[in-house]
Amino acid sequence: MSFGQLPYDVSHLLGGGMLLLSFVLLYQRRVGAVINALALQGGILALAAAWQALVQGAPQLYLTALIAFGAKAVLIPLALRTLLRRLDLHRTVETALGIGPSLVAGVALVALAILVVLPITAGSRAIAREDLALALSVVLLGMLMMITRRNAILQVAGLMTLENGLILAAVGVAGMPLVVELSTAALVMMLLVVGGVFVFQIRERFDTVDTGFLERHRGEAE
C-alpha cells in the first residue's frame, strides 16, 4: 500500500484527523470545548478501528471500534460533562504553559516523533511507518497536555488522548495480538481514573465549603 490507494489514504486521513484534534485540545480555552473535541477524537478512533477491521479483515477490531465509540465518544464525555456541571467547576482552562508556546511545543514534539519513528521502522511498509508516527505524536501531545494544564479534568483528557494514541498504533499494525484485550484494559483504567477524579473532587468539595475556595480558583481567569 502506498499513497493514492484508498485503504492507505483513509487510515492516514483518520490518523491525521486525530492529530489535528489533539492540537484542537491544546488550543481550546474552555473545558466544555475540550470535552467536545475529546468526544470527537474518540469517534474518529472508533472509525479508524472499524476501517482497519474492514481492510485487514479482522472482525475482532469491530469490537474495539464499538467499545471505543461507546465509551470514548459517548460515555466518558457525558460523565465529564456531568462532573463539570454537578460540581460547578470553573470552566476556563488553567495553563502552566501558555496556549501559544504549548502549540509550538506540540509541533516540535510531532517533528520529534517523525524523526524517531522513521529510521526505526525503515524497511517495513509505508502504512505502518507514517501511521506509527502519527500515533506517537498523539501520545506525546497527550502527555504534553497533562503536563501543561492544571485542571484535573484536562489531565484526564490528556491521559485519554494518550491512550487513544496507543490504541491507534495498535489497530494500525496488522496482526497484532490482544488488541481488543489491550484496549479494554486501557478503558477500564480510564474509567477508574475518571471515577477517582469524581470521588476526589467530591471530597474536596466537602472539605472546603467556603467561597474563598472558588475565589482562589478564579484567579487566573481573564
Binding site: S2, F3, G4, Q5, L6, Y8, D9, V10, H12, L13, G15, G16, G17, L19, L20, F23, Y27, I99, G100, L103, V104, G106, V107, V110, A111, I114, L118, A126, R129, E130, A133, L134
Partner: protein
C-alpha cells in the same frame, strides 16, 4: 476555438462573480438569521442596498484628499481582478496563466492597503484604529497562507492556481493529511481576511468589534457601494478559492463545451451553497474573540500548515 472558449469562459466567469457576490452575501446573512430563529432580510437585500448606494453621491470630509476619492476604485479593481483569476465553473480560462497564488495574495494586499489608506485619510480615531488592526492581522494571515501554498506547491509542483486545481481534480494524489491541515489553515485565513466571526463581526458598528467597518465610517454613496461590493467579491473569491483547491470536482476541464460548463456551474453553485451554510452555521455557533487573541488563532493556522508541510517532506522523502 480553444482561445475563443477561454475568453468566453473568462467573461462569463467575471459576470458570474459580479452577480454572485452580493447574492452570496445575502444568502449567508439570510441563512444566519434563519439559524438564529429570525426571519431575516431577503437574500436580495445586498443587491438593493448596492443599487441604492450606487446612485447616491458621496459626501467627503473637508480635509479629505484624493486618496479618499481614488481608493474605492483601486480596491474594487484589485478585488475584481483577483476574483477573475480564481476559477469557478471552468478551468483554462483566458487569465489562467496569470492565476498565481502569490499574485492573488498581492492583489488582496493592494486592496487592503487602499482600504487602510482611505481609513487614515481624514484623521479620525476609528479609521486609524481599524487600519492598524487590519494590517496587524495580515501580518499573521500572510505567513499562514504562504505555508498552505507551500503544501500545494509540493503536491502540484506549481503555484499556479489553475494547474493546482487541475492536478487535484484528477485525483491522482488521493487523500492527504497535509491537505486537510492546509485546508484548516486556509479556512482560518479566509475568516480573518474577510473579517468574519470570530475575528471580526461584519454586522456591527460597535467600537470593540471594529476592524473593517471602522475604516469605512467616512465613506458614503457610491464609494461605500464600491467598498461593500469589493468586500462581497472578496468573500466570494475566498469561498471559490477554497472550493477550487479542496473540492475541484465537477469543474469543466480546459477546452470543453457549454454542456460541461453548465455542469460546472451547477457544481459550483452547490459548493457555494454548502460553504455559505457552513459559514452561517459556524458564525451563529461561535462568539467573537478578543482582538489580541487573533494572533493565537492565526498562529495556530500557521503551525498547522507548517505541520502539513513537514508531513509532506517526510512522505516525499519516503517515496
Amino acid at each position: 476555438m480553444q482561445v475563443f472558449g477561454a475568453i468566453l469562459t473568462q467573461l462569463l466567469h467575471l459576470l458570474l462573480m459580479l452577480a454572485a457576490a452580493p447574492l452570496l452575501l445575502g444568502v449567508t446573512r439570510w441563512l444566519k438569521a434563519r439559524l438564529m430563529g429570525r426571519r431575516g432580510a431577503s437574500p436580495l437585500q445586498p443587491l438593493r442596498d448596492l443599487d441604492k448606494l450606487l446612485r447616491k453621491r458621496p459626501v467627503l470630509a473637508e480635509n479629505a484628499s484624493i486618496v479618499s476619492e481614488a481608493a474605492p476604485y483601486v480596491a474594487f479593481a484589485a478585488c475584481l481582478l483577483a476574483a477573475a483569476l480564481v476559477p469557478s465553473f471552468s478551468h483554462g480560462m483566458a487569465f489562467a496563466p496569470f492565476a498565481d497564488l502569490i499574485l492573488l495574495a498581492g492583489l488582496l494586499a493592494l486592496a487592503r492597503m487602499a482600504l487602510a489608506l482611505a481609513g487614515m485619510d481624514v484623521g479620525t480615531a476609528f479609521g486609524g484604529l481599524g487600519a492598524a488592526r487590519e494590517m496587524s492581522f495580515a501580518a499573521f494571515a500572510e505567513p499562514a497562507l504562504l505555508l498552505s501554498v507551500l503544501n500545494f506547491t509540493i503536491l502540484a509542483g506549481n503555484t499556479n492556481l489553475d494547474l493546482i486545481a487541475a492536478t487535484f481534480r484528477d485525483g491522482a494524489l488521493g487523500l492527504r493529511v497535509s491537505l486537510g491541515l492546509a485546508a484548516m489553515a486556509m479556512l482560518a485565513v479566509a475568516i480573518a481576511e474577510n473579517g468574519r466571526i470570530p475575528v471580526d463581526n461584519p454586522s456591527t458598528h460597535l467600537e470593540l468589534t471594529m476592524v473593517h467597518e471602522a475604516m469605512l465610517l467616512e465613506s458614503s454613496g457610491r464609494h461605500l457601494a464600491l467598498w461593500d461590493y469589493g468586500a462581497a467579491l472578496r468573500l466570494t473569491l475566498w469561498l471559490s478559492l477554497i472550493a477550487a483547491i479542496f473540492v475541484p470536482f465537477g469543474a469543466a476541464p480546459a477546452g470543453s463545451g457549454p454542456l460541461a460548463w453548465a455542469i460546472g456551474l451547477l457544481a459550483w453553485l452547490l459548493k457555494m451553497g454548502v460553504l455559505c451554510l457552513a459559514l452561517a452555521w459556524f458564525e451563529s455557533a461561535i462568539a467573537k474573540m478578543r482582538v489580541f487573541r487573533v494572533p493565537e488563532f492565526l498562529g495556530a493556522a500557521l503551525l498547522l500548515a507548517l505541520l502539513g508541510a513537514a508531513l509532506l517532506f517526510v512522505s516525499t522523502g519516503l517515496a
